[in-house]
C-alpha cells in the first residue's frame, strides 16, 4: 500500500481515538453531565440516520421522505430480537443492529423496486406513504406493543458504543462512495440519461444505493431502541423523517462531514428550542426554502472536511516558514 495512504489512516485513527478519549474523560469527570451525554448519544444516532439519508438524497439524488419508517423497522426488529434471545451483551447488540438493518434493507428493496424503476419523483411520495404505513402498523399490531410502545429493551448503547458505531458507519460510507459502486451512484445523480447511455444499470444502482441507505437507517433505529429502552410508535412520524432531511440539506447534499456537523448542531439547537417548537419548525422551514433558492446544494455543498489535507496545509506552511 502507498505510504501516504497508510500515514493517512494512522493520522485519522489517531484523531478519532484522541477525540474519543477527550470526550470520554470529560464524561468521567462530569464536565459533560448526563443531560449533555444524552444529547451527544442522540446526536450520534442523528448522524447515522442523516448520513444514510444523505446517501439516498445527496449522492443518489432521490427524495426519500420515509427514513423514520426504516428507523422504526430497525428499532423494533433489534429490540424484539434482544428481548427474545438471551445472549451476551455485545453479541445481542451487534446481531440486533445487523438484523434491524437487514430487515429495514429488505423493506427498502420492496418499496425501492417499484418506485425507483420509474424516472421522476415517485420515491418521495412512496417513501412518505410507506413511513405512514409503518407507523400505522406499529400502532395497531400487538407484538410491537401497539400504541403503548415497546418496553423492556435492554440498554446496550452508551457513549462508547454510539461513538464507534458512528465511526464505523461514516468510514463505511466514505469507502462506499469512493468505490466503483459509489461512482456509479454519483453519475446517476449527475445525469441519469448520460449514465444509462454509458452502460450503467441505473435502476440497479438506484435500488442498491437506496437499500444500503435503508440498511444504515435501520441500524441507527436499532441503536435508538438500545439507548432509549422504550420505543414509541408515534415518534416515527413524518416530521421525524423531515428532521433528518433538514440535517442533510443544512450539512450539504453530498457532504458526509457536513452531515456530521449539522446533526451535532441540530441535536443541541433542538434541545434548546424545544420549548418554542412552533417557532423552531417555522425557522427550519424558512431555512430550507431560502437555502434552496440561494444555495441549492446545502450549506457545505459537496465539500468534505479532511484532516489529512488540513495537516498537509499546516506542515507546508511551517516548511515555507522554516525555509525563510
Amino acid at each position: 500500500m502507498d505510504k501516504k495512504v497508510i500515514s493517512g489512516y494512522i493520522k485519522n485513527i489517531t484523531a478519532i481515538m484522541v477525540v474519543y478519549a477527550i470526550i470520554f474523560y470529560l464524561i468521567q469527570i462530569k464536565v459533560i453531565n448526563n443531560y449533555y451525554n444524552g444529547i451527544l448519544i442522540l446526536a450520534g444516532i442523528y448522524i447515522i440516520v442523516a448520513a444514510s439519508l444523505n446517501l439516498a438524497t445527496g449522492y443518489l439524488g432521490q427524495l426519500a421522505l420515509g427514513h423514520a419508517g426504516f428507523m422504526a423497522i430497525g428499532a423494533y426488529t433489534a429490540a424484539l430480537f434482544a428481548i427474545a434471545v438471551d445472549l451476551p451483551k455485545y453479541v445481542e447488540l451487534v446481531a440486533g443492529l445487523i438484523l434491524g438493518g437487514v430487515v429495514a434493507g429488505i423493506f427498502g428493496l420492496i418499496i425501492g423496486i417499484p418506485a425507483l424503476r420509474l424516472r421522476g419523483d415517485y420515491l418521495g411520495i412512496v417513501t412518505l406513504g410507506f413511513g405512514e404505513i409503518i407507523r400505522i402498523a406499529l400502532l395497531n399490531l400487538s407484538f410491537t406493543g401497539g400504541a403503548a410502545g415497546l418496553k423492556g429493551i435492554p440498554r446496550y448503547v452508551n457513549f462508547t458504543e454510539i461513538y464507534f458505531l458512528v465511526v464505523l458507519v461514516i468510514a463505511f460510507l466514505f469507502a462506499f462512495i469512493r468505490s466503483r459502486h459509489g461512482r456509479a451512484i454519483l453519475s446517476i445523480k449527475e445525469d441519469e440519461i448520460a449514465a444509462e447511455s454509458v452502460g450503467i444499470p441505473t435502476t440497479f444502482y438506484k435500488v442498491y444505493g437506496f437499500v444500503v441507505s435503508a440498511f444504515i437507517a435501520g441500524v441507527g433505529g436499532g441503536a435508538l431502541g438500545f439507548y432509549q429502552r422504550i420505543l414509541d410508535p408515534k415518534k416515527f412520524n413524518f416530521m421525524f423523517s423531515v428532521e433528518f432531511f433538514i440535517i442533510v440539506v443544512l450539512g450539504g447534499m453530498g457532504s458526509i462531514t457536513g452531515t456530521i456537523l449539522a446533526a451535532l448542531a441540530l441535536a443541541f439547537i433542538n434541545e434548546f428550542l424545544y420549548s418554542i417548537d412552533e417557532l423552531r419548525l417555522v425557522i427550519y422551514a424558512l431555512t430550507l426554502i431560502i437555502l434552496m433558492i440561494f444555495k441549492s446544494d446545502g450549506l457545505l455543498g459537496r465539500k468534505e472536511f479532511s484532516l489529512i489535507k488540513l495537516l498537509n496545509r499546516f506542515s507546508k506552511k511551517t516548511k515555507i516558514e522554516n525555509a525563510d
Binding site: I125, A285, L286, L288
Partner: protein, 293 residues
C-alpha cells in the same frame, strides 16, 4: 346490500373532495413537473379562511366559499412567485425540497398563529338526512359536496378545453419553449394554473372541514397525500384521471373502513399507490410518454 350502497354514497362524498384536491396536484404537475407538497396545506388554509369567514364574520356559506377560493388563489400564486419561480430551471430535487419546506412553513405558521388546538367548524347547513330507500340515507351536506365538486370539475374541463387560457395551459404543459415561441405568456399561465388549482383546493378544504366539523393546522396532510395518490392512480397530469382517481380512492377508503378495518384504511390507500406504480406507473388514464434527450 343497503349497507353497501350506503358505503358507496359515503365513498363518493369523500371521493369528490379528494378529486377536487387531486386536480390541483395534477394541474401543477402537468405544467411545471413539480409535486407541490404545499397543496395539501392550501386546503388547510382554505378551510381556515372559510372558518373565519363563517365563524367570525358570519357570512353566508356561498360567500365564504368564494372568499376562501379567491384568497387561496392569491396564496397559491404568491407561493409560486416567491418559492418555485426562482427554481424553475434548478435541479428537480431542489424544487421538491422547496415544496416540502413550503408545506412545513404553512403548517407551522398557522400553528404559530392560531394554535394547535382544532377549532370547531360551525354547522353551516342544517343537517338533514334524506332517506332514498330503506336503510339508505344521504345527507344534504353530501349532496351539496358531490354536486359542488362535480360542477367545479365540469367548469374546469370547460375552461381548459374551450377557453384561450386553457389552450395556453395545455400548450405550456406540452412544451414550454415552443409555447413561448408561439407568444404564450408562460409565467402568467403558470400563475393562473396555481391560482385555479389552489382555488379548487380551497373548496376541497372547506368541504372537508365541514364534513369533519373541524379545522387544525395539520389537517391538510392526510387528505393532501391521499389526493396525491389519487392523482397518480388516475394518471398524473391528466385532468379526468385526477377526478377518477379521487373517486376511486374515496370508495376504497370507505369500503376498507366499512368492511375490513378502520385503523388500516390509510395504510391501504398507500399500499394501492405502491401497487399502481408496479403494474401501471402511468396511471389508469395516463399515457406512456417517451423520453426526449
Amino acid at each position: 346490500m343497503a349497507q353497501f350502497i350506503q358505503q358507496i354514497i359515503n365513498g363518493l362524498n369523500v371521493g369528490s373532495i379528494y378529486a377536487l384536491i387531486a386536480l390541483g396536484y395534477t394541474m401543477v404537475y402537468g405544467i411545471v413537473k413539480l409535486i407541490n407538497f404545499a397543496h395539501g396545506d392550501i386546503l388547510m388554509i382554505g378551510a381556515y379562511f372559510g372558518f373565519f369567514a363563517l365563524a367570525t364574520f358570519n357570512v353566508p356559506f356561498g360567500l365564504a366559499l368564494v372568499i376562501s377560493m379567491i384568497l387561496c388563489a392569491l396564496v397559491g400564486m404568491a407561493i409560486d412567485r416567491l418559492a418555485y419561480k426562482p427554481l424553475r430551471n434548478a435541479p428537480r430535487i431542489s424544487a421538491l425540497i422547496t415544496a416540502l419546506g413550503m408545506s412545513m412553513l404553512l403548517q407551522n405558521l398557522f400553528r404559530l398563529l392560531f394554535g394547535a388546538q382544532p377549532r370547531r367548524m360551525p354547522a353551516v347547513i342544517e343537517l338533514k338526512r334524506i332517506e332514498i330507500a330503506p336503510g339508505i340515507a344521504i345527507s344534504n351536506l353530501a349532496i351539496i359536496t358531490i354536486l359542488l365538486s362535480v360542477g367545479l370539475m365540469l367548469l374546469l374541463e370547460f375552461v381548459v378545453k374551450k377557453t384561450k387560457t386553457g389552450k395556453a395551459m395545455r400548450a405550456v404543459s406540452e412544451d414550454k419553449a415552443a409555447a413561448k415561441l408561439m407568444g404564450v405568456n408562460v409565467d402568467k399561465t403558470i400563475s393562473i394554473t396555481f391560482a385555479i388549482g389552489s382555488a379548487l383546493g380551497a373548496v376541497g378544504g372547506l368541504l372537508y372541514a365541514i364534513n369533519y366539523y373541524q379545522v387544525e393546522p395539520y389537517m391538510g396532510m392526510m387528505p393532501g397525500l391521499k389526493a396525491f395518490v389519487a392523482a397518480v392512480l388516475g394518471g398524473i397530469g391528466v385532468l379526468p384521471g385526477a377526478m377518477l382517481g379521487g373517486f376511486v380512492i374515496g370508495l376504497i377508503e370507505t369500503l376498507t373502513k366499512g368492511y375490513i378495518s378502520t385503523t388500516w384504511a390509510d395504510a391501504f390507500v398507500f399500499g394501492i399507490l405502491i401497487i399502481v406504480l408496479i403494474f401501471k406507473p402511468a396511471g389508469i388514464l395516463g399515457k406512456n410518454t417517451r423520453e426526449k434527450v
